[in-house]
C-alpha cells in the first residue's frame, strides 16, 4: 500500500503544484471579460468613447498595395476562408463574438469565422519552430486589469478586413481598399473592460512591414450582449444553389 500510495501522493502534489502555477499566472479577481459581445460602433446612442477609432492613413508597401488591389473587388476572392486575427477582432457590429475561459487560456469565438481563436495564458512562449496558421499563435498575460496578447505565426491567407467589417465604408460602395495582413504579422493587443464593465476595449497594434510601411494602432470596442447567442455559421460558396439564376432572373 505504501509503495503504491507514495507515488500517488507525489503525483497528486505535482498535479496540485501544476494547477497552482497555472492559476498563479492569472490574478485573483480577474476582470469579467467572459460572455457574448458585439461591436458597439454600429449601434445608435452608444457613447462616442466606445466607438472604434478610425483607421489611420495607412501606407502600403509595394506588396501590400498589390495585395490590397487584388482583393479590392466586389467579389472578395477568398470568401469563406477563416479570418486572420486582425479581422477576427475587427469590432464589427454585424456579428457577435464570445469569450470563454479554457483550461489553457482563453478562446474567442467570432460567429462568421469557422475557427476559434485560442490565446494561451499558461505561461508558454511562442515556439521557435512555429508552423504558420490562419489565426497564428497567441499568448496572453494579465498586467493588472489588462490582458496583453501577442500574436505571430499567421499564414497570411485569412480573409482580409473588408469595408463592412472595418466600418470604413458605407454599404453603398463597399469598394474601400481591403486591409490585408501577411505572414509577417505581429499583433499586440491590450484588452480591458471599460464603461463600468459593459464595454470591452481592444487596443491593437499591428506591425506588418511586409504589408504596411510602419506599425499602427487602433482601438476597437464591443458592448456586452448577454441576450445574443453566437450561432453556427458554415460557409462553402460552392454549395450555394444557383446564384447565376438568382442574379439574372429567369422567365418561365
Amino acid at each position: 500500500m505504501v509503495t503504491r500510495g507514495l507515488p500517488c501522493l507525489v503525483h497528486g502534489i505535482v498535479a496540485m503544484l501544476a494547477v497552482g502555477a497555472a492559476v498563479a499566472a492569472e490574478p485573483e479577481g480577474q476582470p469579467n471579460i467572459w460572455g457574448v459581445w458585439i461591436g458597439s460602433s454600429g449601434f445608435p446612442n452608444v457613447d462616442a468613447r466606445y466607438r472604434n477609432t478610425p483607421w489611420p492613413a495607412l501606407e502600403f508597401t509595394a506588396w501590400g498595395a498589390a495585395e490590397s488591389k487584388r482583393l479590392t473587388t466586389p467579389e472578395t476572392p477568398d470568401q469563406c476562408m477563416p479570418y486572420g486575427p486582425m479581422a477576427h477582432m475587427s469590432g464589427t457590429s454585424l456579428f457577435p463574438l464570445e469569450i470563454a475561459k479554457t483550461t489553457k487560456g482563453i478562446v474567442v469565438m467570432f460567429e462568421p469565422s469557422p475557427l476559434p481563436r485560442r490565446i494561451f495564458t499558461d505561461g508558454r512562449a511562442h515556439p521557435d519552430d512555429l508552423d504558420q496558421t490562419w489565426l497564428g499563435h497567441s499568448i496572453g498575460h494579465w498586467e493588472g486589469d489588462t490582458l496583453v496578447v501577442d500574436t505571430v505565426g499567421t499564414n497570411g491567407h485569412g480573409r482580409p478586413l473588408n469595408g463592412y467589417l472595418a466600418g470604413s465604408v458605407n454599404s453603398k460602395t463597399d469598394f474601400s481598399p481591403r486591409l490585408p495582413v501577411s505572414d509577417q504579422l505581429h499583433m499586440v493587443e491590450r484588452i480591458r473592460l471599460v464603461g463600468g464593465g459593459e464595454f470591452l476595449e481592444d487596443e491593437i497594434t499591428v506591425t506588418d512591414l511586409k504589408t504596411y510601411t510602419r506599425p499602427f494602432t487602433v482601438k476597437h470596442y464591443w458592448q456586452r450582449r448577454p441576450d445574443l447567442d453566437v450561432l453556427e455559421y458554415f460557409c462553402i460558396d460552392e454549395t450555394r444553389p444557383p446564384a447565376a439564376e438568382a442574379h439574372t432572373g429567369s422567365t418561365q
Binding site: 469563406c80 460557409c235 450555394r240 442574379h247
Partner: protein, 131 residues
Amino acid sequence: MSPLRRVLLSLAMLGVASSASAHHSFAMFDLDKEVTLEGVVKKLDWSNPHVWLAISVADGKGAVTEWSFEMGTTGMLTRAGWKSSTLKPNDQVKVVANPLKNGGASGRLVTVTLLDGRVLGPGSPVPPQAP
C-alpha cells in the same frame, strides 16, 4: 459554332461566373432604389454565406418571372426572427428590395411582408438590446 455565337456564349459564361461569386458584396445592387413585388415563394435558400429568397412574379398577362433576393447570414436572420421554415413554397409574399443595377430580376431584400402581416427584414443590423 460561329465565331459570333462563341463570343456571345463566352460573354454569357463570364456573366454567370461573375454573379455566382458575388455573395459577399452588395455593390451590385442600387441601394438608392426600391422596387415592390408581389408573388409566391418558390424557395427559401437557407444557406451561408447569404440566404436567398426566390419568388415567382406574374405580370397578369401570362408571363411569370422569377426574382431572387439576397439577405444576411442564417445567424443574422435567426436573430431577426426568421426560421428556415418561415417561408414555404407557394406562400404569398410582398417584397421590397434594392434592385440590381444591371436591371436583372434580383435585389437586396429590404422587407418581406408575410401572409399573416408580419414584416421581416434581411437580418442586418442586429437589433439593439431590449431596455
